[in-house]
Amino acid sequence: MPLDPAAATSLDPATAPAGQRAEMSVDIVCVGFGPAMGGFLTTLSRGLIQPDGTPAVTGATLPGAPPQVVCYERADDLGFGVSGLVTRARGLRATFPDLDSAQIPMAAPVRSEKVLYLLDPIGASRRSFALRCVDEAIRAFRRVLPCADEALELPWTPEFLHKRGGLVLSLGQFMQWVGAQVQSSGTVQLWPATPVSEALIEGDRVAGVRLLDQGVDRQGRPGPDFLPGMDVRAGLTVVGDGPVGPIGRQLDERFGLPAGHVQHEWAVGMKMVVDLPEHCDLEPGTVWHTIGFPEPEIFGFLYVHPNRVASLGIFVPSWFESPVRTAYRYLQHWMLHPRLWRVLQGGRLRSWGAKTIGESGRRGEPQLVGNGFARIGEGSGSTNVLTGSGVDEAWTTGTQLAEAVLELLRAGKAFTSENLSATYVERRRASWVEHEARVAEHARDGFQRGVLTGLVGMALTGLSGGRLSLPGRRASVPPPSPRLESYYAGKIGAAELERLRQDCLTRQTPLHDAFMERCGWPAIPFDGKLLVSNQDALLLGGKVQAPPGYADHVVFLYPELCTECGARLCLEVCSGQAIAAGKNGLPEFDREKCVHCGACVWNCTRSLPYGPGRANIALRAGAGGLHSAEN
């Protein structure tokens, strides 16, 4: 069916009358306040002022004054909507040589690390024949292996996976700590609750950003208190809005990816912050990583903070080709695994959240610089897919850009593509971030052929320093969406499958509960404390809300494509159940449940004919989301 790009649900919903849109000029405008921007602004702010308070460099906006630097963050406060983590903290310590973890709430030095292979105690997990053989072998030798509670503790983990000497952090608390310090310098302004709608592109140059219109209805139509988003013009626009940020995606569409680069790999990370029960004796700094359960493709983590608090959760990767992939249901089954439940039973949910992670690594790196702009952090392809590390790398790319910007300011040079390449990109290419990204470039290819192959491939790459890897399938467009019929072949007959599907359609529910329970996954024994419904997690843990006066930020571009879509994977994967089955097969979006994770975009199965690889879902700039800074 030919589709007219002009017929897509408007991508520029609110139009301000001429002259009504205000304009402001600064020297540097930044988009998104994540760890990369934390590194950028921390390093930059230190170089703008002399110890005696006089400007170390001057900007163009206010002659004689330091450059005017402003950073806009979409979320309602700094540190909302990010994740708990363990990091080697190399980049962080380079910026803060005297870093004392006791200064940062919820931070703890890494004390012990374990990798656990979880067996399937239920029998519902989809395991290959090879993996079943591994399971049987482990069970047969359980008395001589370090096995307990249906889990094998791997006796050895390769060095590249270790976070020895690192930190367990709440990224939310860490970013609030960084934000307070950056603001205290008096040289940088941070504005949360201020989504950036688009980059202002003039020819081949980015000239600043436009803030999101306020006072509009769900469709973006101006209301009585309409306030058009301001145009903020700047010599340099720093883009650090993550893997699904609207500005990064706009730049990717406008300037394209470097030849051979693709961004097809991602994971949905869903986590909880939990008050551990009294009986739990895990020490702060304890780090567990799990593989094997609830599905072999799903990784899990548990990091212990001070004061008997833990961050825990799972990653559902793109190569888990289930047509009903749901992070929330799987997270609950993962917590209920005997090895985890032994330490979690009696615990209480404190916070909950989800985000998607771009896992294409260096292969998904966009154009890092152009005239008037630079990209840093996860959206710039800095995440290392071999070591499972992103924050340290993101932070370091931010510091590299700051050093480059200071160099250009001191030299009085403009922020051109050439100058930014010679300073920022050169620094990045010469750094450990680049070196390790190159090692990791093909580390995960094997997962496209199966979990065991993937694990072997990772080990091979890691141990050989990137010289060896197992090949995978490479394509210029995302892999085809999984189908119910093929995924459940041999488990559910065609007639029953259709009956289940129709039943869910009639009840306007996602498919995953019905299909998972049909395949043996037991119902979740809700306890009202830790095992709670998805909506309770949203309210009790995520405290999700959406301020009025903003347009819907998830838009189905061609509703007719949704009507034809048999997969409706966007419903299954939606972290907060913000996308629900509506009438006539059309999905409906409820922005008051959206955590802005972006899973819908990655999982849309209807790519646009005029833009191969582009989803039928647009994730625009939007306000609101998670209201917890403990994630």
Binding site: D76, M106, Q183, W191, T194, L227, M230, F526, H627
Partner: protein, 271 residues
């Protein structure tokens, strides 16, 4: 000719209303669990007062708005990142506890002292605004005590509307029982108004306002004086949450009518 008012808004910060609060006993007495980890907002009652103050100032050329806030400096800085985009004001920061477990007399003394210290303060043009109630200090007497310390005799509480007359006098609508308002007329400043919800919506974020405000907010935070301890001589006998309003119970295979009936009975029994 309209008066150029000096409007001083007293406003503290409180945990974001979406957070779960849990009282605990710490080394310094009662406290909220993890309070410093919780996101904070400007007290909603005080927010209304601030928006009304800005609205009044906009209509009366030469007027100026100050926001006097007693809170932990780091948290206050965080809250200002959002509040500063709403309306123009100058911050006067006091570094101290903003928890629910403070003594209103001490808080009022610190706020009144800070107001008195404003350079060029003119009583003949002074309006002190604040929240009639507080989402944190539920006693609802702090603002009244501030007024007493400043010698403000005309005090109005539960204000929903302020109408300025051409001669500088004003009419105040105060909430009273029964869903009606008491209408008072006042010759003019100085006066103290404890606002209920007012009539204005929350202003949209305006980056230009934010840029202008931040130029004075950061210096104000840097020179914030420490407020004296507010616990002296106060003993809290007990601290408890209001009766739980949320009860989760899982039932299966039960008719909807029965569940509805049970909920009705629960509501009828007072929850």
């Amino acid at each position: 000719m309209p008066i150029a008012y000096q409007i001083v808004v007293c406003g503290g910060i409180v945990p974001d209303p979406l957070q779960t609060l849990e009282p605990v006993t710490g080394p310094g007495g009662p406290a909220l669990k993890n309070e410093m980890l919780l996101p904070a907002v400007l007290d909603p009652w005080a927010s209304h007062a601030l928006y009304e103050a800005a609205h009044l100032a906009r209509g009366c050329p030469g007027s100026k708005v100050w926001l006097v806030s007693l809170a932990p400096k780091a948290k206050l800085q965080q809250v200002m990142m959002t509040v500063a985009q709403k309306v123009p004001f100058e911050l006067i920061a006091l570094d101290g506890s903003a928890s629910a477990f403070t003594e209103p007399q001490e808080t009022a003394t610190a706020l009144a002292d800070a107001i008195r210290a404003i350079p060029g303060l003119d009583h003949a043009r002074l309006l002190v605004f604040g929240g009639w109630e507080s989402a944190s200090r539920g006693a609802g007497i702090t603002l009244q005590l501030v007024g007493e310390r400043l010698g403000l005799l005309d005090q109005f509480q539960g204000v929903d509307q302020l109408i300025i007359g051409p001669d500088g006098s004003f009419e105040v609508l105060e909430r009273i029982e029964g869903g009606v308002h008491q209408v008072s007329r006042c010759a003019g400043p100085p006066a103290l108004l404890g606002w209920a919800t007012g009539t204005l919506p929350e202003p949209r974020n305006n980056p230009q306002v934010g840029m202008a405000n931040m130029r004075t907010i950061m210096p104000a935070l840097q020179r914030a004086k420490s407020a004296p301890p507010v616990q002296a001589g106060v003993v809290f006998e007990s601290v408890s949450l209001p009766a739980q309003q949320r009860a989760t119970r899982v039932v299966q295979n039960r008719p909807v009518e029965e569940i509805a009936q049970e909920i009705v009975q629960w509501l009828a029994s007072g929850g």
